[in-house]
């Protein structure tokens, strides 16, 4: 790209040369010499620059490493800093005297130390390294797109921007917690079972005495309690408790409703952070932890197991779930297109240039026959054919006879009347077609963006033409394009009919089926924790309630953890407004509507609490005290005192 500085210099040099040669050759030959000298130098600088751009830049090698404590890692932990190291290998033969390299930082992360942008002078064979420190506050996946390169000559005449795409996705696992700190410290038992084994009040072969009972034929003689037998004068046998592991299955709602909001700050992130803490604490205690993630379309199940490998697998799944983008039917393309264009220009400048993404001049012409009313103009243009019909011909002849000023003007007038409809049609045809040239910017941008989106998502070859005219296809693919690059985009909460888009009864059915399946496979001491957004789904809750009743009927424990919108006050802190209040100004009306929204939300929460409370399920909010401790406390109860003998 020639900069303004370059253009002004070039124009002035050409002007000097032309003046020197053409206009004033006899008086100002030096102008010509000066013009030739300046143009020669400019041409030389241009050649140098183009060689750097076309030959040297493609040879540039940039590598990225993620390091924690000087070790290269493939994943990082939320809330912990890590180092990003960039290694640059210069081209072998050509120098790049001025290059600005910027490593694009993922939007979800925060930069702590160091610089991700450096101006460098690369000589052939040079190897450079720079580092900077990042932190990702929430679990998810970090996407490093690559490096932005800006190249300029030393005078500032030429400028070239490109992007070295090297997309890397690094999972950000939920933060490691201190599992011991989350467990109760009060002493309940004299003899603690080994880790991962818990007492169950059922007859078994454990070490703790459960009960004494009368001897039944077949009981082993070693179980006879001799002293009570002597006292009672009949054979009494000892029964011991059973020792079993506790299983905890986490059901996590990953539907689009909980994905709404900026990455790392949405409901899904909160749910996953708590679920990860529970999983880690349980795993530290050698309890078995399972995971079921569900959304509107299906479930992903990991059976309960223990061990560090299983835990890391769980955390990986949770991290990937946390980065899932929300998708809905957008109703406004403009914000999506703006984000898409910005991203495409930033990351795909090579695919946006004219060499590979052309804008032929003819593409702006609007074909009349493609419009719904095009046939009318076509009919108008075909009207001269009616001249073969004698009646029409006679009509035109009469008209020509009436309007011609003299006899000799009659034939030309007749001819004019014959071709007049054709000329009018032609005029409308041109008028319709030329309208496309009035808005070339929007058409060009849309075509270029559509082409980049189609190439990036590897869509079929007809996708560009389709996205050019089909708004719905364009919006759908733009959402996919932005989601692929982890760019948050606006989503309409309500569709064109005013219906809330993310109310999903289907996910309740899927959750109910998953819970029933887990209960069917369950043994003793099962804890099911449902991390789900079930507010305002009153009518669809029945299948889930049946599944919960079944779980409770088998003496399992069930907990429900609800996500909570950040701008909603806690129920215990909310003060009800005055019922007689009538809004009179716009501000009061806005407050009134907001109060209405809060009340509706709280009412929905109370309803869910009431419904689940009836079947003995505790309902928690994610921001209610220490949810993790409450869940772990419930597991403790299962281990020690939770069950009666069946």
């Amino acid at each position: 790209v020639l900069t303004g500085r370059g253009w002004s210099f070039l124009i002035l040099s050409i002007m000097l040369l032309v003046c020197g040669i053409l206009l004033l050759p006899q008086t100002a030959y030096f102008l010509g010499i000066l013009g030739v000298t300046l143009l020669g130098w400019f041409f030389f600088e241009w050649m140098q620059f183009v060689i750097r751009v076309r030959i040297a830049l493609p040879q540039l090698v940039v590598r990225r490493q993620i390091c924690i404590e000087n070790r290269t890692v493939a994943m990082v932990w939320a809330g912990r800093t890590f180092i990003v190291r960039i290694d640059i290998d210069a081209p072998h033969k050509i120098a790049l005297p001025y290059l600005v390299l910027e490593d694009l930082i993922p939007a979800e992360s925060k930069k702590h130390d160091g610089r991700n942008e450096h101006a460098i002078d690369l000589r052939p064979g040079d190897e450079l390294t720079f580092e900077y420190q990042l932190e990702c506050p929430a679990p998810g996946v970090l996407r490093f797109e690559g490096q932005r390169l800006q190249l300029a000559d030393l005078q500032g005449f030429f400028y070239f921007r490109t992007f070295l795409r090297a997309p890397v996705e690094i999972p950000v696992l939920p933060p490691l917690i201190d599992a011991d700190g989350l467990h109760r410290t009060d002493k309940r038992l004299n003899i603690l079972p080994p880790p991962g084994v818990h007492r169950l009040r059922g007859p078994g072969s454990g070490s703790e005495l459960l009960d004494l009972r009368d001897y039944r034929p077949g009981d082993p003689p070693k179980m006879i309690a001799w002293k009570p037998s002597a006292r009672k004068d009949k054979l009494i046998v000892k029964e011991f408790e059973t020792e079993v592991p506790v299983r905890c299955t986490l059901f996590i709602d990953t539907s689009h409703a909980v994905r709404l909001g900026p990455p790392g700050k949405n409901s899904l992130s909160e749910l996953i952070t708590i679920a990860a803490a529970v999983a880690q604490a349980a795993a530290a205690n050698r309890d078995l932890v399972g995971l079921t993630m569900f959304d509107e379309s299906g479930t992903q199940v990991i059976r309960p197991a223990r061990g560090s490998r299983h835990l890391i697998d769980l955390l990986h799944r949770l991290a990937h779930a946390a980065s899932l983008p929300a998708a809905g039917r957008s109703t406004n393309m403009l914000p999506l297109a703006r984000l898409g264009l910005s991203l495409a220009n930033e990351v795909y400048p090579d695919l946006m240039r004219n060499g590979v993404n052309k804008l032929p001049w003819r593409m702006f012409w609007r074909p009349l026959l493609d419009s719904a009313r095009g046939w009318r103009v076509l009919l108008l243009m075909a009207m001269p054919l009616l001249t073969f019909w004698s009646v029409y011909r006679g009509l035109l002849a009469t008209l020509a006879f009436e309007t011609a000023p003299s006899r000799k003007w009659m034939p030309p007038m007749f001819l004019l009347y014959v071709i007049l409809p054709f000329l009018i049609g032609l005029f409308f045809w041109g008028l319709y077609g030329i309208r496309g040239y009035l808005d070339t910017t929007a058409i060009s941008r849309r075509k270029r963006l559509a082409a980049v989106v189609a190439q990036t998502l590897q869509l079929p070859f007809d996708a560009v033409a389709r996205m050019q005219i089909d708004d719905e296809a364009m919006m759908t693919h733009l959402q996919q394009f932005l989601a692929k690059h982890h760019v948050p985009y606006p989503i309409a909460l309500y569709d064109a009919n005013g219906q809330y888009q993310f109310r999903s009864g289907e996910k309740v059915k899927i959750l109910a089926a998953a819970l029933a399946n887990a209960v069917g496979r369950g043994r003793d001491n099962e804890l099911y924790v449902l991390f789900a957004d079930l507010l305002e789904l009153d009518e669809e809750l029945e299948p889930l309630m049946n599944a919960v009743r079944m779980a409770k009927g088998r003496h399992h424990q069930v907990l429900l953890v609800c996500p909570w919108l950040q701008h909603m006050p806690a129920p215990e802190k909310y003060k009800k407004r005055d019922a007689s209040f009538i809004p009179r100004t716009e501000d009061e009306l806005a407050d009134y509507l907001r109060e209405e929204e809060i009340e509706r939300y709280l009412k929905a929460y109370e309803h869910v609490r009431h419904e689940f409370g009836r079947v003995g399920v505790t309902v928690l909010r994610v921001n209610q005290g220490d949810s993790v401790r409450l869940i772990l406390d419930r597991m403790e109860r299962l281990r020690n005192v939770g069950r009666v003998r069946r």
Partner: protein
């Protein structure tokens, strides 16, 4: 670019360019004085100094524009006595060199070298102090609040940069003289049988030379660009080719699909 503003007096690289530019201006001034154009030369230098010292980005362009005047009319006679112009075919202006094809004049060599050196130093100084390339105008891209003009850091200036620039400017001054002679060699006088005659002929030669040079370079670099294309670029090139051939037909088909969808929706 969080580079702090460079203090002009503290950076050796900036100082060196400043002194190079100032020396070049001195040469220009002296050359103009030899050509009896002291006032015009002084004016040109006065326009150039704010660019060197005060980062005035319009300075080099104004310097070139102002320099035209003392070159055309060294003693300013056109201003003082405009009636000299237009009398006869070759107006005789005091101090004017009337040799049309003159080259390798020692004063001219120094003047051209001084001007080119000044321009190189001035533009590089502007890159170091003002802005090295234009800010990106990405559509809908909101610039950050702390975005500064991108400057070339002074630490990137190599030690051999200024000597190389001086050598380069000398080479281009000599090259310019040679090319100028070549232009007039290809161009004959009115009486000759040369293909290109007179001023127009010289102009045609220059335009032809520039066009051929640009055409060859564009072809070579276009070929290199295709040869070094990435997989994504090649894929895009092919997709674009298909689109260009068939987009009207495809759009027609998709219009029917939209119509069908709308009808089903109703």
């Amino acid at each position: 670019m969080s580079e702090k503003p460079i203090s002009i007096w503290r950076e050796p690289a900036v100082r060196n360019y400043l002194f190079t530019g100032a020396s070049a201006l001195l040469v220009v001034m002296l050359a103009h004085m030899v050509r009896d154009a002291a006032i015009g030369g002084l004016l040109a230098v006065l326009v150039a100094v704010p660019g060197l010292v005060g980062r005035w980005s319009a300075s080099p362009i104004l310097f070139l524009l102002v320099s035209i005047f003392p070159i055309l009319d060294p003693q300013g006679m056109l201003l003082i006595a405009p009636e000299y112009m237009g009398r006869g075919r070759d107006p005789v202006i005091p101090g004017l060199n009337t040799q049309t094809k003159n080259a390798f004049d020692i004063t001219d060599l120094f003047l051209a070298a001084g001007m080119l050196c000044y321009l190189i130093a001035q533009y590089r100084l502007l890159s170091l102090m003002n802005r090295s390339f234009p800010p990106d105008r990405v559509p809908f891209h909101r610039p950050k609040a702390d975005d500064e003009s991108p400057k070339r850091p002074a630490k990137l200036v190599r030690e051999d940069e200024i000597p190389f620039a001086l050598a380069l400017s000398s080479a281009f001054v000599l090259g310019g003289q040679i090319v100028w002679l070549l232009i007039w060699t290809f161009t004959g006088d009115d009486g000759n049988r040369s293909m290109f005659i007179g001023q127009t002929g010289a102009f045609v030669v220059v335009v032809w030379g520039l066009s051929v040079g640009l055409l060859i370079s564009a072809t070579v670099f276009g070929y290199l660009s295709m040869r070094n294309a990435s997989h994504a670029e090649a894929d895009m090139f092919l997709r674009d080719g298909v689109w260009q051939e068939t987009y009207r037909e495809q759009q027609r088909v998709h219009r029917w699909r939209i119509w069908n969808r709308a009808r089903k929706g109703q």
